[in-house]
Symmetry: C2
């Protein structure tokens, strides 16, 4: 019913579901540095924890607040720093 995805040796796990017409995941990340690639545009929201991101074409890291949503364009890679166990929502547009 709900697929479980696992990345980075289990340091990132997510559950796939539908958010209206959008594919979506809720997931958790352990403290660490990650690089992700996008297929579609992604709308990511920090639910719990500490996250900063460095998006393509931005030259500075940006701290993400709880409940803040940032948008990542399709077909790019972006960097994420996680300070402690964190949870996120991701909508695939």
């Amino acid at each position: 019913m709900f697929d479980v995805n696992e990345y980075f040796d289990g340091n990132v796990k997510s559950l796939a579901f539908k958010a209206g017409e959008d594919k979506a995941t809720v997931g958790v990340m352990a403290a660490g540095d990650y690089e992700f690639g996008t297929d579609s545009q992604e709308h990511m929201t920090l639910i719990s924890g500490e996250m900063s991101v460095k998006l393509p074409n931005e030259d500075k890291w940006r701290d993400i607040a709880i409940n803040e949503t940032f948008i990542v364009q399709a077909k790019v890679s972006f960097l994420v720093k996680i300070g402690c166990d964190s949870a996120y929502l991701c909508l695939y547009k």
Copy 2:
């Protein structure tokens, strides 16, 4: 690293993590009616979807808004109606 929990034949799945000092889960529920029991006090937040709840000692169903948090006392059971795929955060106090 992160345990995956599964309930109701996979219609509810969650990922366990730490939110500061609290044990926490993010999870997904398929449309349906559920009864859950609590061990500790739980602070539940609806992240995505449609949820209504009937808590102990309340005689009416209550619709939960996105980002709304409701508190369920320890050692009780409560009823949840889910209208479509939904995601939630739960903190165990």
